[in-house]
Symmetry: C2
Subunit: 215 residues, 2 copies
């Protein structure tokens, strides 16, 4: 399948490499077509890996992952181009972390909005599904790094798009338990969770952790 991955950071490269290993035709998108991280990734990831601008990656993908930094998300959406993403599923993995005032990060907004909703508003013809942002990228594509049963979440306005993303999470990445967090406003909860995650990471001394909803 042709897949676009927006963002050349660790998250984008990790998801991109996993998708290439599954045999997909993956284009990593960056601000510049000569992005160094993207060029290095293309050489390493091998057959099926290519890179280009945000617009080229968005046009390339039948399915697109947004793996850009929270503060850049809206600029990336504009650069990718609403027309290039129209009718497509965009899996939004981003987190609204603001490092501008140093560590630890704060949220870009106090939970009255979310990057998922902002993307959905900016891209009304795209089916945005928030997911995977609640775990470290190695766990996103290999949930078995964390022993036992644990959950990943999906939030979005389009039920069919959420079902397709759930299928991808299960069949491609190996997720066993996928919890529906409702419409795209569910992203508010999933994004605010990142501050809990940061503290959990500090407390546990490892990023290889996740949560299980117990009821």
């Amino acid at each position: 399948m042709r897949i676009g991955v927006l963002g050349t950071g660790e998250v984008g490269r990790t998801i991109g490499s996993k998708l290439v290993s599954l045999g997909h035709d993956v284009m990593l998108g960056a601000r510049s077509p000569t992005n160094e991280a993207a060029e290095a990734w293309t050489r390493q990831a091998g057959h099926g890996a290519k890179h280009g601008t945000f617009a080229a990656a968005a046009a390339h993908g039948e399915l697109v992952f947004n793996c850009t930094a929270g503060r850049a998300v809206m600029e990336v959406a504009a650069a990718a181009g609403p027309a290039n993403l129209a009718g497509k599923i965009l899996v939004d993995v981003s987190n609204p972390l603001d490092f501008s005032q140093g560590m630890p990060p704060r949220l870009l907004f106090p939970g009255n909005d979310s990057l998922g909703e902002r993307l959905q508003r900016a891209l009304p013809q795209t089916r945005v599904v928030k997911s995977l942002n609640t775990v470290t990228c190695a766990v996103m594509v290999d949930p078995a790094r964390v022993p036992g049963e644990h959950d990943v979440f999906v939030a979005g306005n389009d039920a069919a798009a959420k079902a397709r993303v759930a299928e991808i999470l299960r069949d491609w990445f190996g997720w066993q338990s996928i919890v529906d967090f409702g419409d795209i406003t569910g992203a508010r909860g999933l994004e605010a969770y990142i501050l809990f995650w940061v503290r959990g990471w500090q407390a546990l001394g490892t990023a290889d952790f996740n949560i299980r909803l117990m009821r």
Copy 2:
């Protein structure tokens, strides 16, 4: 033991009743000494239950729980009186929810501060321990309402105070797993989590849920 509980809402009354049932001498604190909810609670909770002002409840307790609404916390701390709380452990159960712009709530601040830290700054001679705010009040005092293993968290600057609160959570309320989230700044993660909790509650259709950290 003499215990003060600040706040006459559902959380304060639930924790107060549990403490009375364990044989403690509990004073529920309110803005007014003739608060109706506190008067009704005192009648219902029976022997060992009394009520008074925030200052009276703070002075009464050898240990104090803060169960007031997020937007009122600093005003309550001032009314309770730093001298009345000096040298004592204050278990802060509050959440920084802002309902002023309707439902769903937003956070009072974007994770660059927390009610736990604000209380600790306002009450430098008090040992503030953030805990219990990540579950509904019925689960706070009866974790077995949620089957299986699941976690409660403590954050605070004083290790001995955290150890004492952990003991109370285990011996009085029945918590099996208590996770240390570090110093009082850990409250930022525990408080931002409430937006995740709100969405989990909507998704699951029950407030009787919690999370288990898997690693």
